[in-house]
């Protein structure tokens, strides 16, 4: 029997460290400064939106706006529901049950994370469209000759877009739910079992409510990614709000209107986040004991065992193995199109940028999450929330915000230097990899901050109090207490940012220096000319470089569970 007792504190926490650090301390000031830097590009978009421009709203409202809203909502709900279903179910199975290949699924479930949504969309269109092999075989089998003879679901549709995005985005929910299930103390689940709850009952009445904050963070990341997507909905011709933003911007040549639409989207995201917070009310769950031991797993038998295998295998097969096989087939004809040195250089750029972004994003995210924990002023919290909204802004629009911010900074430095010293400094940051990295950090702050914050909130504030009473300052407490306890969350943050940065297109394309390519920009270059075969080797490389960290991540999480031994 477990010797620990874990308590669920269902009340407002003693505001983390209500204790006496004032506003003027490096954590608070640092957090505010970093948040300010991250807000600048969003502020630039507000500035663009406020500029005089042709009014776009009455035209949109009377024509396509209702459709944009409908499509966007359905897409978000569909992908949200799909990713919760797959992500939570598979996370629960691999964390608490025993069934064939369960240890393999622990990491394999993450593989689709490395697959860009726009790539999987191309692959599945080739397979399932009218001209694809599936429908061809069906026509041959049943003697159908034309489209009018039968019904087949249209892949380039809202449903298709939901399926594609669900397949590659569910790992966010899986990752965060799994971390949450593993961090749950055995005692809670034991108590639930002792009190007569079966596996289902324990899941719905104890484990899921405890994991809810993590699941919510996972799903909000998924939804923000969904809102952000351009490649998939463009290829499928699904008129979402994001597509509308690009249409107003590029076809109607109205960047002001586009910025206004983008901000509307942001407000929508804010409302969504607030609604969830309100629904969760003031409940906070803490695990108050540090004692753990491996969770006894539910041994699945008979059909249940194979159902569990199917539930875990299907998303991996569809979201990773099949598309990789198809890409490999395409790539085989195009392997010689780059010299090895070019390919290595592009891969090197991808890895350099992604590593830089991952490390910096997690340092910053940790700093901010801890800054808030130390002094949870409403104002500071609000600023940080706004700062992490970059994830929900369509990439190219955010890139424009970064362009404007850095352009203004560079040109004002240049102007000052010219006036004062007669020297022109030109553009110091614009068009450098600093600009690209800045864009990544603004974009991915939500990932790093979110993961770290999710882990930190589960550490009971009593820990901080105890450390303080033993004479440790905030830095020492962070290093000795929090970081060891949230290692899993930190690893998650590093890898999520790394893998997402590997796949990132619009910011890289728009902000990059001259003659600078990454794997993702190579894919973009060929895919934009309808040359999927030529894009395949680089797409595969993105996937390949994404897999390794994903597997490392899974191992890190496995070993991060407090009290976890081998097996």
């Amino acid at each position: 029997m477990p010797s620990d007792t874990a308590a669920i504190t269902d009340q407002l926490a003693p505001s983390a460290q209500n204790v006496s650090w004032g506003w003027v301390n490096p954590w608070t000031i640092g957090t505010a400064v970093i948040a300010g830097l991250a807000i600048m590009p969003i502020a630039a978009i507000v500035w663009i939106a406020a500029a005089p421009g042709e009014a776009i709203w009455s035209h949109l409202a009377s024509t396509v706006l209702p459709g944009y809203i409908f499509n966007t909502l359905v897409l978000m709900l569909g992908v949200g529901a799909g990713t919760i279903l797959i992500g939570v179910a598979s996370a629960w199975l691999v964390s608490t049950c025993r069934f064939p290949m369960q240890t393999m699924f622990e990491w394999a479930m993450l593989l689709p994370l490395a697959m860009p949504a726009y790539v999987i969309a191309y692959v599945y269109t080739d397979i399932f469209e009218f001209a694809g092999p599936v429908q061809e075989v069906l026509r041959d089998l049943f003697g159908w000759t034309s489209k009018r003879d039968y019904w087949f679901p249209e892949i380039r549709s809202l449903g298709g877009a939901i399926s594609m995005m669900t397949l590659v985005l569910y790992p966010y929910v899986y990752l965060l739910s799994r971390a949450a299930f593993m961090e749950q103390s055995v005692g809670v689940l034991e108590a639930s079992r002792v009190l007569g709850r079966g596996p289902w009952g324990s899941f719905f009445s104890v484990a899921f409510p405890l994991a809810r904050p993590a699941v919510v963070i996972g799903v909000s990341l998924v939804m923000m990614e969904t809102l952000n997507d351009f490649g998939t909905v463009d290829f499928f011709g699904v008129a979402t709000f994001t597509l509308g933003i690009y249409d107003v911007w590029l076809n109607m040549n109205n960047v002001t209107g586009a910025a206004q639409l983008a901000l509307t989207l942001l407000i929508f995201v804010i409302v969504l986040v607030l609604a969830e917070r309100f629904a969760r009310a003031k409940k906070r769950y803490y695990v108050s004991s540090g004692k753990y031991q491996p969770l006894p797993r539910y041994q699945l038998l008979g059909p249940a065992k194979w159902l569990a295998v199917a539930v875990c295998a299907a998303p991996v097969l569809l979201g990773f193995i099949l598309p990789v096989a198809v890409l490999g087939f395409y790539a085989s004809a195009h392997l010689n199109q780059f010299t090895n040195s070019d390919m290595l250089r592009f891969a090197g750029n991808s890895i350099l940028l992604s590593t830089l972004a991952a490390i910096l994003a997690v340092l910053i995210g940790t700093f901010m999450a801890y800054g808030i924990r130390l002094r949870g002023e409403k104002l500071l919290k609000t600023i940080v929330r706004i700062a992490s909204l970059g994830y929900a802004v369509p990439g190219s629009v955010l890139a424009v915000g970064v362009l404007v911010t850095l352009g203004a900074l560079d040109n004002s430095i240049d102007g000052t230097m010219r006036r004062s010293f007669g020297i022109s400094t030109g553009l110091l940051l614009s068009g450098t990899i600093v600009a690209v990295t800045y864009g990544y950090l603004v974009r991915f702050l939500a990932l790093s901050f979110g993961s770290v914050e999710a882990s930190l909130t589960k550490v009971t504030p009593n820990m901080d109090g105890a450390a303080k009473s033993l004479g440790h300052g905030p830095l020492s407490t962070l290093r000795r207490i929090h970081i060891p306890m949230i290692k899993g969350g930190l690893a998650t943050a590093v890898i999520l940012v790394f893998v997402d940065a590997m796949k990132e297109q619009p910011l890289t394309v728009i902000l990059r220096p001259f003659d600078f390519h990454t794997m993702a920009t190579i894919v973009h270059e060929f895919a934009s000319d309808e040359q999927i075969g030529e894009a395949a080797p680089a797409a595969l490389a993105i996937v390949a470089f994404g897999i390794l960290p994903v597997i490392l991540l899974s191992m890190a999480i496995r070993h991060s569970r407090p009290g976890h031994s081998q097996g």
Partner: protein, 349 residues
């Protein structure tokens, strides 16, 4: 950033120094004459052309390929922009840059000789480098000769359920609709868009090649696509199935009895704050010259703007055609309206 142990501090220092050295290297390398461009045309396409230019002139060329945000990048960089010129794949983008005041006037006897007046801005704000027509691909058997000869035919009742097109919001279709607005007015263009929408065999989707693929597979009989895709598909050794798609369709130049087929250009313009205007002009002169025009024609199946440059045999096999003579800037002016008309008729729904 706060560093909380020496190891971290060291790493941060290394990182900062690394970034600084990358920037410093760029500064040192800016010695030899060079031209910098923002390009909407892909690097793989431009590479042979730019290498030939460097061989001939010794001028190095650096580029950033970007499709969206070029106007915004130039605007944000202002007077300090490193870019000397822009390359675009469509008149719309050239026009938008010119309208935003991001391009400067230029003139050169060579450019005037190489590029016909209809393909360049009267003050030299932009220059067309290649042209392509937006044409109809019709299935060889299922579409009878004479059944479809104009854009208008695509919107007539006899084509119901037989037409495929990509998104109505794609720039190629926007430009085509803009050309119809320029020629026939807003009301007629709206009617056309509505009629075309009513005839679609499927919701607008996929890219230009996907439309021809749909013809091959019997999903539709006629589609709209740009001329060069026919050449690219007909010669695709790496994906030979595309040859079959191309072979299943005839290329029909629309409106030959009327105002002619809609033609768009790829082109170039010199930025207002170019640091090397002379070099930029040299590059445009080179790109409009015989050698480069031949590379464009052979590598990308486009129509050269320079007279006397041979077409690719496949392109030549389609025969000569009458092009819409409307001035391209006039058409580009109508793009925003075209996008709105697509909204009004709910083309993509």
């Amino acid at each position: 950033m706060l560093t909380y142990n020496n190891n971290k501090a060291l790493k941060t220092t290394v990182l900062v120094l690394g970034l600084a050295s990358i920037m410093a290297t760029e500064a040192v390398m800016a010695k030899a004459e060079e031209v910098k461009l923002y390009s909407e045309r892909q690097p793989f396409l431009m590479k042979p052309l730019l290498e030939a230019f460097t061989r001939e002139t010794g001028i190095k060329v650096h580029m950033v390929y970007l499709k969206k945000g070029m106007v915004e990048r130039l605007r944000a960089e202002g007077a300090n922009t490193p870019a000397d010129l822009i390359l675009t794949a469509d008149i719309g983008n050239l026009h938008n840059h010119a309208k935003a005041g991001l391009l400067q006037k230029s003139s050169s006897p060579i450019l005037q000789a190489n590029i016909p007046a209809k393909f360049r801005h009267p003050d030299g704000l932009w220059y067309g480098l290649t042209s392509r027509a937006r044409v109809i691909f019709a299935h060889k058997d299922r579409v009878k000769p004479g059944e479809v000869t104009s854009y208008a035919d695509l919107a007539k009742p006899h084509m119901e359920g037989r037409v495929c097109v990509r998104s109505g919001k794609h720039m190629y279709n926007i430009s085509l609709l803009a050309s119809i607005i320029a020629a026939e007015g807003e009301a007629a263009a709206t009617e056309w868009a509505r009629g075309l929408k009513a005839n679609l065999a499927r919701r607008p989707q996929g890219n230009d090649r996907a439309q021809v693929k749909a013809v091959y597979h019997g999903e539709c009989d006629v589609v709209l696509a740009n001329t060069y895709y026919m050449g690219k598909m007909a010669t695709n050794e790496k994906s030979p199935v595309q040859k079959k798609w191309a072979a299943s369709a005839n290329l029909i130049f629309p409106n030959q009895a009327g105002r002619g087929a809609h033609v768009n250009i790829s082109g170039a313009g010199i930025t207002s704050h170019s640091k090397n205007k002379a070099g930029a002009i040299k590059l445009i002169e080179f790109l409009s010259g015989h050698v480069a025009q031949k590379i464009y024609a052979e590598g990308n199946f486009e129509y050269p703007v320079k007279a006397g440059v041979a077409l690719h045999p496949i392109v030549a096999s389609w025969g000569s055609f009458k092009a819409d003579a409307a001035y391209l800037s006039k058409i580009a002016e109508q793009r925003a309206l075209a996008a709105k008309i697509m909204d009004r008729v709910r083309f993509n729904n």
